[in-house]
Amino acid sequence: MQYPDINPVLPEIILIAAALLVLMLELFIKRKETIGFIALIGVGLSMCSMFYVKGVVGQETFGGMFISDGYSAFFKIIFYLNFYLTVLISLKYLKIERALRGEYFGLLMFATAGMMIMASAGDLIVLYLGLELMALSTYILAGFLRHKKKSNEAAVKYFLLGGFSSAILLYGISMIYGLTGTTDIRHLAGLLAGGGIKSSPVLLLSVALFVVAFGYKVAAAPFHMWAPDVYEGAPTSITAFMSVGPKAAGFAVMGRVFLIGLASVRIEWTTILIPVAILTMAVGNIIAISQTNIKRMLAYSSIAHAGYAILGIIAGTQEGMAATMNYMLIYAFMNIGAFAVVIMLKSEGLEGDNLSDYEGLAKTHPVASALMLVFMFSLTGIPPTGGFMGKFYLLMSIVNAGYAWLAVVAVAFSAISAYFYLRVVMYMYMKESKETPVLSVSPAIGLALIITVAMVIAMGILPARFIDFAGAASAAL
């Protein structure tokens, strides 16, 4: 009997083994920070093995079902970063919420492994399994504060809508399978390019079903209804985790399925994606204006950012995909950075997620306010921050692809977004504080803030380095 080559899957195997170990250690170790530390080491090992595997680029295994190339490696770096930054900002927060338990880290690792499998999926079956591993772990994490009504509610809503969207994805997969007789993404591309079935209405139906299912995962309108409630109710550290990870994973599979598998029906899926992108930017940016809860505002902001990132997929070029990947990397830093500041405001007795809690923060806590200022500027897209360069490359790719009018729409909505991002800055710097909030600072969260703010500024000042990196990674696609 011949065994498949397991080298390309090594990072995922190590990660899942470490996650199982973490789940077991929960029973024996009383000091839960130790478990968090072990989780960090496990993920570190997995990351090292990824760089070891990457030495032999373009590897695939299990008959092409699992691909470990530069494209997946880029997304895996985002997922590792997402994991590390989330753990750093969680430790103190979970202690305040009295929810510091070993399973938290185990579930974070399972969710990360699911995202990595999604990014590496060369087959729709593997894609589905990765997606479910990620989704099921995140459902539990959203409801992790099980004595809080809001957290329960968020988890149940996320679960119902997530399950609904994966059933829709499966119906799309079954139609494609019936039409072509394969679930392998690259084989599928070859069969569709052959013509004949290209004009089939069933193919159109499954393209539409894929857009719906992936739209749910990246929180694109009109499939975004779950996002605000889930983001508000979930523990803040998990909100940070799931506004970056599952979104990036969604774009990873969109890139593979649309740009490779369904490349020959590009006109059909761009026709569906363009209105989705415009609606997403509109809903995200306009409804965010009326929010008074900062977690809810950041939820709508994350919807809007999904709208910008879809533009790179619509461009349909390698340049566009590179811009989307680069944007997801920048978004990971600026969004988790913003959530790190939100988490610091949470202390015993103060929820700290209302916009009014930020009034006059600059006088009492100048450093935290300055950091928030950088993240808000970056989310708006003001130079010299990374957010500006990310948007710049996205708009350039869409103009080069011949959709100049879409770039104009995106810029208009981006201008609207300045209103609610800069309102936070205005509250911090131009209002008088009513009371002095106590910040829950810890070395871990300080480290996370230093990393994120340094990267947001570095990506704004030296953007070429990062876009070249993303370009090289997307060339593997």
Binding site: I125, Y128, K149, K150, V156, L160, G163, F164, G233
Partner: protein, 100 residues
């Protein structure tokens, strides 16, 4: 032999009943059952295609779907029980702590 179309029709009908149930019912348990109905609709069409084309991929996917649906049921019911302990209701319209 029963032609493929019949199976596909059955699958589409089961899937649609699932969608309609999910969208119109307001009881979490019923919504959850409707979701399972949608999954089983997919399973029927995958099995039919798989048998019709004499190809095993579809059946492999069906086994994975059944396994994942079991995990999903365990997690979903656990979440519903956790919610029920804090708020004795299984009605989604009463899950309105967050708005905006």
């Amino acid at each position: 032999m029963v032609p493929l179309n019949w199976y596909l029709l059955l699958s589409a009908v089961v899937f649609t009943i699932g969608i309609l149930g999910f969208l119109t019912r307001r009881n979490i348990i019923i919504m959850f059952l409707s979701m399972e109905l949608m999954l089983n609709g997919v399973n029927i069409s995958l099995m039919a295609f798989s048998h019709y084309m004499q190809d095993l991929r579809g059946q492999v996917l069906v086994f994975f779907i059944i396994a994942v649906a079991a995990a999903e049921a365990a997690i979903g019911l656990a979440l519903i029980v956790a919610l029920f302990r804090n708020k004795p209701t299984v009605h989604v319209d009463e899950m309105n702590d967050m708005k905006g």
